[in-house]
Subunit: 437 residues, 4 copies
């Protein structure tokens, strides 16, 4: 078996002062933060598609990278080489989880039967790799967006055969996710939406989408797959409108179709911002509804209108994300999956290391700072006081639901109601800076 990342040794923690760049400056996997190791807090995962399968194509240009492991003509040779490279990379990087779409592992063949046959061989190979390395599967999924048959949707297609094909892919993807002890299964509906309402039966499509998910839930029970089902919302791109627009939109869908007990959310930073929300907003909303499942850790460029999927190097964002995760009691069985790709000009293999290290260090900082903020109850104490009028008297009755409009009117009809306490946003932002720097 060839070594793909020659000259690169195990990435080690070297501490803040070192200027060695193939090393961690903040991420120290075994370091204990609040009773748990950084590694267990963060549960980092590498995304098979961005790091091993794709090679830097964009809308205006062909692939900028040429990965040695992708150069094989025979699909199985390529798939196995790719898996070897993947496990070498993850081992050297010290990441303990990965995620994949079925089609990341091996190219699609003429028929589904042939594809599945090949897939089984690759899965077998990967199983060995996992055992050998101790690396685990965070989640699996099916790619229901790249093939032209899905151009008008998979579960929301206008074509029943395409729907059947997508269903069969999900069946197989569930099987291999189970086979590899995947801890979650994700639905990202990249083509589940519409290009134009002029040709769309939205009601039928949404009904079909709900049935698709119910069938998946049923089949999981049947085969004993007990991982968590996750929806990954995104508002648009490639589709003009995607049905799983954001967490709240999708929550409306789950409730309507009685799916809310089976699903949580895989929240991606860049998808949050494309939907007009901060990453923290989506995490918070999911958290308070007990829907926070897993995270696609990346960052977007808010001046650009597409999914740039950048490595998450903005520490502010990571502090706020880790704040929500810590308040959630952790992210397990989910994790932090780097659904991020190197910029097209960062085309060398070594950039894959630099990029993941940058993201891991920036999230390690996020964890440490968020932990300290929570430990010191900086925000908790402020918030406690801010709402304290709801702890007694009329406020308590409001919260408990034991009052009504008449009583409330009586309470204020002649009262001089004073202004609420100052929101102190700038004060709080300044304190956060003092924790960060």
């Amino acid at each position: 078996m060839s070594e793909y990342f020659k000259g690169i040794k195990q990435i080690e923690y070297v501490g803040k002062e070192s200027r060695e760049q193939l090393a961690f400056h903040y991420y120290n996997p075994k370091e204990i933060i609040g009773g748990k190791s950084m590694q267990d807090h963060l549960r980092f995962s590498v995304a098979y598609w961005h790091t091993f399968t794709a090679e830097g194509r964009d809308m205006f240009g062909v692939e900028s990278a040429q990965r040695a492991w992708n150069k094989y003509t025979d699909p199985l040779d390529k798939a196995l080489a790719r898996a070897d490279a993947a496990f070498e990379f993850m081992s050297k990087l010290g990441v303990k989880y990965f995620c994949f779409h079925d089609r990341d592992l091996v190219d699609e063949q003429e028929t589904l039967r042939e594809t599945n046959k090949l897939l089984d061989k690759v899965v077998e190979h990967i199983k060995g790799k996992m055992k050998e390395s101790g690396i685990k599967l965070l989640w699996g999924t099916a790619n229901l967006f790249a093939h032209p048959r899905f151009m008008q949707g998979a579960a929301t297609t206008c074509d029943a055969d395409v729907y059947a094909y997508a269903s069969a892919q999900v069946k197989k993807a569930l099987e291999i996710t189970k086979e590899l002890n995947g801890e979650n299964y994700v639905f990202w509906g990249g083509r589940e939406g519409y290009e134009t309402l002029l040709n769309t039966n939205m009601e039928l499509e949404l009904n079909n989408l709900a049935k698709f998910m119910h069938m998946a839930v049923e089949y999981a029970k049947e085969i004993g797959f007990t991982g968590q089902f996750l929806i990954e919302p995104k508002p648009k791109e490639p589709t003009k409108h995607q049905y799983d627009f954001d967490v709240a939109n999708s929550y409306a869908f789950l409730q309507k179709y009685n799916l809310d007990k089976y699903f949580k959310f895989n929240i991606e930073a860049n998808h949050a911002t494309l939907a007009g929300h901060t990453f923290q907003h989506e995490l918070r909303y999911a958290r308070i509804n007990n829907l926070l499942g897993s995270i696609d850790a990346n960052m977007g460029d808010l001046l650009l209108g597409w999914d740039t999927d950048q490595f998450p190097t903005n520490v502010y964002e990571n502090v706020f994300a880790m704040y929500e995760i810590l308040k959630n009691g952790g992210i397990a069985p989910g994790g932090l999956n780097f659904d991020a790709h190197v910029r097209r000009p960062s085309y060398e293999d070594i950039d894959l290391f630099y990029a993941h290290i940058a993201g891991m260090d920036a999230f390690a900082l996020g964890l440490k700072i968020a932990h300290k903020i929570i430990e010191d109850k900086v925000l908790e104490d402020f918030i406690e006081k801010r709402y304290n009028s709801f702890k007694e008297g009329i406020g308590k009755k409001i919260v408990e639901g034991t009052t009504n409009l008449k009583e409330l009117e009586d309470y204020v009809i002649d009262k001089k109601v004073s202004l609420p306490k100052s929101g102190r946003q700038e004060y709080l932002e300044n304190i956060i800076n003092q924790y960060i720097f």
Copy 2:
């Protein structure tokens, strides 16, 4: 009683060819379209706040208009004059509905008791005007956003006294809406959201918001108000994040808190686009969920990031809106409320006429064109064919929910699945143009 709009006569329908501008070219109230008069289809309403109360202030400049009816010092004098002007305007324009916030009618006084006393006098006056003119109340609402006490929310404030005050305002607004036979009651939560998550207990705020709405529903029952409750979603502005972000977000809220049987939506075009949706998308989504209640008819500028509330002169948008309304079987008991204000440089009284005429004519065109498109089943037939694979065989089983992943896999495992039919977007856009022009 003074005449405010001197020299302006009743606005009449003059037909397409005339170049008279204080006249309708397309809106012919009694003209029958598909068995119903244009007037009954469109149910136009004037927004009290934009047209009679506000005077053209923006973030960087003071009022550009000086309305004669707002020049009184005594609050009651001003309120009565404003009502007189309003009914003169609506009568001359030939609009049969209006909408208001409590504070549009009369300025707030020292105590709620005093304000309500004054309000009663104005309502009494308006009641007479309504009787006299035959103009009706489409909906009422409470202004829970302008006063500084609401700077951090009303139903989602951090201060129990403020919550009580807001509740009392809603109580009174419900009473006067009932008194004036209002057909709907609207909640627009302009301050129900947050400026920063750093100081926010989102869970408590959302719980309180749900309780607020339940109390309103209870009180309506108590006083026998049988109008439709409506939520008007908006994603942001003035608040950084508003809880009623869009229709789907709010639908998630309604379902979670068992409010979905009491509420529908008042959908505003400009709010839809601020949330990243087309107006038609919001209407469609509401329609297929039986949630389409009423409409704030305006338009935004998609190159600007704030709520410009322009008069809806874009006929394309109006065609697609009327398409959804017609497919909904009409908009009643809702209507088309012009939540729109003249541009700040259109500061003359006569501009209020020009602007409403522009919006009414553009919606009349929308109605006529949409009706023709539906009558000819242009889109219906296309859509019917597009999805016809779901009418029999495996497609039928999918729709009926009588299949499963295994059967679907068997169906496609060796099948050569062909591509779905072309979506034909450009073809359809071209046909729509042929209907429009």
Copy 3:
């Protein structure tokens, strides 16, 4: 030679009432509008890349279309077949111009010498086709963005060899544009910008870009190419920031580097909106600075943040575009190039016809309506009156530059300055609607 578009006959004008869709309803090439044929007003052009070379790939999916003419393995066979298909398509459509990038015509080979050799053969073939069909070249350009060597810019690359390669491509592209009597030559700097300022010497890059353009101007003189040089601005995508952000930005560049006498602009609707401008704004700004050269006729989706390059079916936009073109005295030697591609689900060959027909009809409408608006001096008369205070007295002195702050102060120091005339935006929008419908 095969016929590629079997069963499709010459697209003819059938008039407004017909429901035949492989026909023009508004575009009547020989119809005279204001003394010039529609064909000469509009100077439509087909974009080689979108219509003949590309096949519907997007960021999340592979090609949806499979064009018969692109199925050849041998590059020359493919190139010749593609040209045949192109001329068959344009002839049947009745479009008299086309545009290309060097690499649209034929695939790049191992060395530039080999590529150019092949290119010469294709150009020879195309020359014959042009003669035969009477179809002309609106403009040529070089593709300096798709190959990985350009990942960090072409004229603004960090690598001198890449710069040299780009220069050589421009040289050849100028030669073949001249050979084919191209009327313009376009620079679209899709990679001329930066991904991150962290690694960028902006000053050096801009200096190099200016030198690049000067060399092109010099070489054009040398070979006697007298077509118009055009810059096509775009703010971003694929690059994070593109130097030719918008017309005004690029005009600053041209002035600084003394290039303004050699260049005009090729303005694309979707690029305008990505830069935060209306299409009309960019056209107007260019027009009043005598910089309006040519047009990439398409439309964007303002709710999406990337270049959707849709066929321009929005008649409003086309009216305003044609208004500027008519006020410019026409667009020649530029034209209206459909830099637009069919939606990915519109993957059938016939959709190429439907889409171009939709764009052509919608622009024909734009022309007819804009012509009428100008003929009736609707806006001209209004504007004339609006600014009439600048025609005499102090206003005249201001315009003529014969006054100063002191005199102006004296003029107003004790004066009660009244408000300017109402801007009457809604009134004007309404009148425009009366012209459109």
Copy 4:
């Protein structure tokens, strides 16, 4: 004279570890960074309008704050009280500069003559305050946007009288800026643009704008005002389109009208992002063109589409801003003016301190980190190497302008051009994080 900020003492530097919040943790005015005190590097300025004149109004709500100094009925009383409060605030805060619009100082009166008379008294008072406190005027400007007469522009109005009035205001503003030894004079053209092109003569308006600026330049010469003239670009809001869209747009204007030798730019962070640029982009572009004059130090919310003018607490942004300023050799005679206002819920007087402290500390961090990055030549060395192919051979000829397309073609015609060096964005972002944290 009353003390307005009772109980607040001089804000002192207490260092990173203290949790005292009415204190600086990073801003230590006399601390020397790279041979210059922090105070001299940063040249902080308080914005009179946001901090002393305005009181927290927004589009949907009235003032949330009630400043004691604004409670006077008599305009002069109010103006003097406001000035007293301003100088008390700035003294306690330790800021050495301020900026104002003419109308921030005192309310407009019936005639310009009366306003100017009052203004003279206030200026006299402020002059005394300045002398006493050592606080200086960074820049003055005229408010040509708030009064209704400017609703359709000031220098680009459709009304000559309005133009004259604006001119007279600029004359007076120049005089008082000179009187107070202002180091710069700013033009922010908030209404210089259009609401709709339908009623706009863009060419006339731009010509008039240029004449306006030339008259100001002339008058400055006449009275011996030697401060720097600055344009502050903003793309929109309140106007639909503002002519000074961004730095490059305005640079095109300055060049066209031969104004480029008299003007530099006052660059605001939030205006940069509204125009689709990063703050650093605008600073960099200005810097390399020797146009960087001064800074309006704030930050925007990129998920909101309006000018939020928040206090600049994002340290990343401040690092990149200070990087450009240091590379510029400093910002003098400009400074860092906090064109920022407290959030509406931060309505207490003490929030004015918290907010400015937050901004000052965050910029002090920016300075320290940027200085270290430059000192270590982290980016400089990388960039130097990245472009080193332009230092000799063909690259040198390119840079020197001594080659041409033919020579460049010869150079590459048979050459295998390799890919440029990796851009290493993630690697660089990671290193920047190591400097920041």
